[in-house]
């Protein structure tokens, strides 16, 4: 479980995060949604420590991240995995070496065991056949899956995904979403996902946090989304025609069941 308490972060006097409070549970996929520029990436970077917030607290299962010293932070980092918007695979290493990298760096296993573990993770994302290719030689969706494999190589407690399915087709997005969701429940991880993909919201939104201009505007689950009365949330989620139609159908169904 990760708790964020009144987090503030500003750039050049402009408040990007203005007092965010949130709780992210384990075993669930926690989504952060919001318009482009609303501060999702900044929030995630603050949580993982790539940016330092001005004020606030970040608790990893009760452990205060911001007051840790370097060594404690380093230990906590071993429990984190992150999937970046651009996959961020190491260009000079093959797919297998990419997945092995965290193991090479931190585990004391033998070479054979490390390869075995890396192969297992690659198999988990169904990419064992691409193990000797370089990141430049595989498609974007495959790169994301390799990034997932690399992120879970050390069995992390906390998984962070910044727009894991941006730039992917709907079908591949679904595969990635489900993969992340399955892994999260399987290992009871605390997973935080930044997204503005409505399919993800409806598919894996165990818990949804909507941020608007740096503060928490709404939170709930995917089932609450259709009945939410928050104006800004509705404007955001139902910006597309298709989803508006879906909502209308859904509301009609609801009324029908009520009448019956």
């Amino acid at each position: 479980m990760i708790q964020v308490k009144s987090l503030y972060k500003s750039f050049e006097g402009k408040d990007v995060l203005a007092g965010i409070n949130a709780t992210f549970d384990n075993g669930k996929t926690n989504l952060i949604i919001g318009q482009s520029g609303s501060g999702k990436t900044v929030l995630m970077k603050c949580i993982v420590g790539l940016l330092t917030p001005e004020k606030g607290e970040i608790l990893y299962d009760g452990r205060n991240f911001l007051s840790m010293n370097k060594k404690e932070k380093k230990t906590l980092r071993r429990e984190m995995g992150m999937i970046f918007q651009s996959a961020a695979l190491f260009d000079s290493l093959t797919v297998l070496e990419n997945v092995m990298f965290p193991l090479d760096m931190f585990s004391n296993d033998t070479y054979r065991d490390r390869v075995k573990r890396a192969r297992f993770c690659l198999d988990r994302v169904n990419l064992i056949e691409a193990q000797s290719k370089y990141p430049g030689e595989i498609s974007g969706g495959m790169q994301k899956r390799v990034a997932i494999a690399r992120a879970i190589a050390l069995n992390p407690q906390y998984l962070f995904c910044d727009e894991p399915n941006s730039g992917l087709d709907p079908k591949t997005s679904l595969v990635i979403d489900e993969l992340i969701h399955d892994i999260t429940t399987e290992y009871n991880m605390t997973t935080i996902i930044n997204t503005h993909d409505m399919n993800s919201v409806m598919g894996i939104g165990d818990s949804i946090l909507y941020i608007y201009k740096g503060h928490k505007e709404w939170e709930g689950t995917k089932n609450d989304v259709f009945t939410a009365t928050n104006e800004r949330l509705n404007n955001f989620i139902f910006a597309s025609d298709l989803l508006r139609k879906v909502r209308n159908v859904e509301e009609r169904e609801l009324k029908k069941t009520k009448q019956v």
């Binding site: 993982v48 790539l50 980092r77 992150m82 961020a88 190491f90 260009d91 760096m105």
Partner: protein
């Protein structure tokens, strides 16, 4: 009144660019070096990177070093021969001068300037690209000291390889000089050989090595700094790569002055 304010703003701007920015840059550079020269987390990974970098930065530069040194050696011989030939001048002077130029300046300083262009831009753009594609962030998230992991092997590798490049350069230059005798018939090979050996001082070779090791540190650390601190996209990477070449060249020239004075003065 208006003019006064404008003048003040201009002054502020000048102070900012001329004094504050260089000082903060130096500060950031020193801090980055502090993080770089930490004990590697995994010696195994460090040596792997170190070997890779020796090949990429050192071995892959041998070709250009040989090529350029060969032609410069040949051209210097011809130039000296043409320009100082006179009945009053002993014939071995051509060989002697060629050797001194190669040994004292070309094979260390000028070659490092050339390498600043090749190796420096390579380092800056590689690290810069890693920065903008979030690979450095990925390292940091894992808890890896990204500066130590990426930069330290490059610095150490270039510093180990550079004396060998200097040796290659000197030899290639001498061969170039001889080729002007053998194939060009510019002067007598025996005269050249005598000149090359005339009043030879071993210390000069050491000076070359010492200087080149300093320059290697400048090239690798300065370009790594520019690459590591890239912000933005591919344009920023391109700019960092150019800046790193310019800055390391300037620093090489400046420290050449100081080092030469210290070592030989």
């Amino acid at each position: 009144m208006h003019l006064y304010r404008q003048k003040r703003l201009l002054l502020q701007e000048i102070v900012k660019t001329m004094m504050i920015r260089p000082i903060t840059t130096v500060g950031k550079y020193i801090m980055l070096m502090g993080r770089t020269f930490a004990r590697p987390e995994r010696m195994r990974m460090f040596f792997k990177q170190y070997l890779n970098e020796m090949v990429q930065l050192g071995v892959n530069s041998i070709g250009i070093v040989l090529l350029i040194s060969f032609f410069i050696g040949a051209v210097i011989t011809i130039q000296i021969k043409l320009n100082i030939e006179s009945p009053w001048m002993p014939r071995f002077v051509v060989g002697y001068t060629t050797r001194e130029i190669m040994l004292l300046e070309f094979s260390s300083s000028i070659m490092c300037l050339i390498l600043a262009g090749k190796v420096g831009s390579n380092i800056a753009s590689e690290i810069g690209t890693m920065r903008v594609t979030q690979q450095i962030d990925a390292l940091e998230i894992m808890g890896v000291n990204s500066a130590g992991y990426l930069i330290l092997p490059k610095i150490v590798a270039l510093m180990t390889m550079i004396p060998f490049l200097v040796i290659f350069s000197i030899f290639s230059g001498i061969i170039g000089a001889f080729c002007t005798c053998w194939f060009g018939g510019v002067l007598n090979a025996e005269d050249l050989e005598y000149g090359l050996q005339y009043s030879f001082q071993e210390w000069f070779v050491w000076c070359s090595f010492i200087k080149s090791v300093f320059f290697a540190f400048i090239i690798s650390s300065v370009s790594a700094y520019f690459g590591y601190t890239v912000e933005g996209g591919s344009i920023a990477v391109g700019k960092a790569s150019t800046d790193s070449v310019v800055m390391s060249s300037v620093l090489i020239l400046f420290s050449d002055l100081v080092l030469t004075q210290l070592l030989m003065g």
